[in-house]
């Protein structure tokens, strides 16, 4: 399979992540959309590491390195975001992102 097939899969995943991010009102579901988008970006990194033209040094590894860093940051992001969501739920009894507008002027 060529590069294009992976890029198409990644684009589909990214747009589904956007749908999830924009239309969901549950904060945890919004996080799931963010995870979908991060996964599609990682897939792009790895696909370009496999198919991209690099120097004579053999297989490129840089894309995989970027994907690893991205996975680590995603793990940190999910931990912090879920802590915030739990705290919001504890305080105002909802995680509907449309209802949590206490700071709105």
């Amino acid at each position: 399979m060529g590069l294009h097939a992976y890029l198409v899969v990644s684009a589909l995943l990214f747009s589904m992540g956007i749908v999830c991010l924009v239309t969901r009102r549950n904060a945890v579901a919004v996080l799931m959309g963010v995870e979908l988008m991060l996964n599609s970006a990682n897939l792009n990194f790895v696909a370009f590491a496999r198919f991209g033209r690099v120097g004579q040094a053999g297989l490129a590894i840089d894309g995989q390195m970027f994907a690893i860093f991205s996975i680590v940051v995603a793990a940190a992001e999910v931990a912090v975001a879920l802590a915030l969501v739990l705290n919001i739920y504890r305080n105002i009894r909802t995680i509907d992102v449309d209802e949590a507008d206490t700071l709105k002027g």
């Binding site: 956007i18 897939l43 999910v78 931990a79 802590a83």
Partner: protein
């Protein structure tokens, strides 16, 4: 069809189908569980892309860590057996439109750009090379990202931690700390 093409088709359908379930499923628990298929499908695509270490890391971190955290979030904050009928809103239309526009732009870019591709070589194990790169070219990002992870996890534990006894903002929460005694008064349902 070559075996790799069949494997690619299965994995791509798995990933994209799981993603569609995440985006369009009416129930939040189904969305969380179908995220499992997406993560596993992407891990399989990593295998096809000769990224063996990354595939295992994907399974361990995403499926074993992030998905479990998300399921905890769902279970702790949502009454999972409620079904809510769809409410007519402008949001899904606009969101779907925005996603379609982004998808169109991405596909146009994918198919019109002249990517400098090469024929991939035979797969070799990548773990040793990744470890080598961590200690050479990427040693500063490596240390920095470990610091980020430490700070984020300490911060998450601090934010999610229950305050000391006597805090007035926690009334209605059982001392054991798991479930609220009071039924939530505000609408918690997922309304896509």
């Amino acid at each position: 069809m070559a075996p790799t093409e069949i494997a690619f088709a299965i994995l791509a359908v798995m990933a994209v189908g799981g993603g569609a379930m995440v985006a369009f499923s009416r129930r939040i628990v189904y969305a969380a569980f179908s995220l499992l298929f997406t993560f596993l499908g992407v891990a399989g695509l990593y295998v096809l892309l000769a990224a063996d270490f990354l595939a295992i890391a994907q399974v361990i971190i995403y499926v074993g860590g992030i998905l479990v955290l998300l399921l905890f979030g769902v279970m702790l904050t949502h009454r999972i057996y409620d079904v809510q009928l769809k409410v007519q809103r402008i949001q899904p239309i606009l969101g779907g439109l925005a996603a379609l526009v982004v998808l169109g732009v991405l596909l146009v870019v994918v198919f019109t750009t002249d990517w400098p591709v090469v024929e991939p070589r035979a797969p070799v194990p990548t773990t040793a090379r990744i470890g080598d790169e961590f200690m050479r070219q990427y040693v500063f990002p490596f240390e920095f990202v470990s610091l980020i992870l430490l700070v984020a996890l300490i911060g998450a534990a601090l934010i999610a931690r229950r305050e000391e006894a006597g805090a007035s903002s926690l009334e209605g929460v059982s001392p054991g700390g798991e479930t609220p005694k009071r039924e939530p008064t505000v609408n918690l349902h997922e309304e896509p």
